[in-house]
């Protein structure tokens, strides 16, 4: 008898992610260009997720998620993502993306496989491949019986992806910490006072830095031992926050963190 423990999985809600990006673009002038572009990317990702969902109502996973993705189906979507970048992205990025239009299906698939395997790609190649793969990966991590309970590892239990952001969600009269996977977007349980990169547990070495206003739901969770940090989105402060979008909107905190000599554990899609 094999029992897999699964903590609550949140249903992927792509329209909500799009709406949040548009809302934050209005609110934060310094990230407007980035968030407007990101909302167009999220729109297409939502369509890809629906396509993946329609293709399989359920998913099984008995090996690493990165090896079982439908790369040939995803390769066909690469051109659509290139079109979004050409239309809405900054000029240099659009130019680099346009050059990839002539790649055949085989080359596109090769690029996606390279991204899934963690090979070094140019920033634009990485962006295009990851944005196309994320919806397919999330479909499997969400629909399969893959466990997301706390194993004490700082890597995604489904795909070994690094965490993009910490998410604090209400639990009793406090907040429980989840880590959001940068690759398959699944959240998994993780202890509060513990560095996901080096395992530091001394609370004096794990400071939190946050804007000195009570209403701020975002902070920098740093580790002075390995000098890495992750941002954290506290949904007990802002219940409307959508972690993967709010994380992008808080770019200035990344600049502050880097200025203080910390290194982000995992840069986001947009390179911040």
């Amino acid at each position: 008898l094999h029992l897999t423990q699964i903590a609550l999985k949140r249903k992927p809600d792509w329209p909500k992610r799009v709406a949040r990006a548009e809302e934050l673009a209005e609110r934060y002038s310094w990230e407007r260009e980035v968030l407007r572009f990101y909302s167009r990317v999220l729109e297409l990702q939502g369509e890809l997720y629906e396509k993946a969902r329609a293709a399989s109502e359920s998913a099984t996973l008995d090996q690493n998620l990165r090896t079982v993705l439908d790369f040939s189906a995803a390769a066909k979507d690469l051109l659509r993502m290139i079109a979004v970048v050409e239309r809405h992205g900054p000029a240099a990025m659009a130019e680099a993306a346009a050059e990839m239009k002539s790649s055949g299906a085989a080359k596109s698939e090769q690029l996606l496989r390279a991204c899934a395997a963690g090979e070094t790609l140019s920033p634009v190649e990485y962006f295009l491949a990851l944005t196309v793969l994320q919806p397919y990966a999330e479909r499997i991590s969400y629909a399969s019986a893959a466990s997301n309970t706390d194993s004490g590892r700082g890597l995604c239990p489904v795909c070994d992806g690094k965490p993009l952001v910490s998410v604090l969600r209400p639990e009793g009269d406090g907040a429980k910490r989840w880590l959001l996977c940068s690759f398959c977007l699944m959240e998994w349980e993780f202890r509060r006072i513990l560095c996901p990169y080096c395992g530091e547990q001394d609370n004096d070495k794990l400071p939190l830095f946050k804007p000195a206003v009570d209403t701020s739901a975002i902070s920098v969770h740093a580790c002075t031992t390995c000098r890495r940090y992750l941002k954290a989105i506290d949904t007990t402060v802002d219940g409307h926050a959508v972690p993967m979008v709010d994380e992008v909107a808080a770019g200035p905190l990344d600049m502050w963190g880097v200025g203080e000599g910390f290194q982000k554990l995992q840069p986001n899609l947009l390179g911040f």
């Binding site: 240099a92 070094t120 690094k162 009269d173 200035p252 880097v258 911040f272």
Partner: protein
Amino acid sequence: LLLEMTAMAVSRRDFLKVSTVGGVAASVLGFDLSAAHAEVREMKIARTTETRSTCPYCAVGCGIIIHTLGDKSGNVKPAIVHIEGDADHPTNRGALCSKGITLKQDVINDRRLTTVKYRAPGSDHWEDKSWDFAIDRIAHLLKQTRDEKLIVTDAQGHTVNALTAVGVIGGCTDTNEINYLLVKAFRAGLGIVPMEQQARI
């Protein structure tokens, strides 16, 4: 293999690399970051630390997390800014009762006693005293009571060395080590029989 699988596709050197496109600061993908850089200069950042502790009220011993503001430098007095239930604690999983949830008010409260108060026998007012005074006073009364009340032998003549006129109460935040010392000092040392814990009060 796992490390290779998860290696960042964008190299570390690329992270937040600021290049110049048309004279403005730009991200690796070419986004204009000049407004965001201006925002960084305006930001005021506060440093806090999270510390695990135990609620001091009842015997359940719920886990709490105390948020302390301050950068640990000598000239800044740390201040508690928030206390919440510890979601990782197996006893309460983040939940707190109506007393526990108000702990911050217990710490930061201008009516909190911060000195030893003593009311002498027959007196009608409280006096501020030192800890040395309090400890000497307790020791004196404890010895006096033990000298007067220690039961050395029972009715059948068995040696018992029992002191039932003094009681000891343990608190929920006491650790195993503290409880060991309590028993060693008071039961084995002084012969005190009534030793209790909060849950049965």
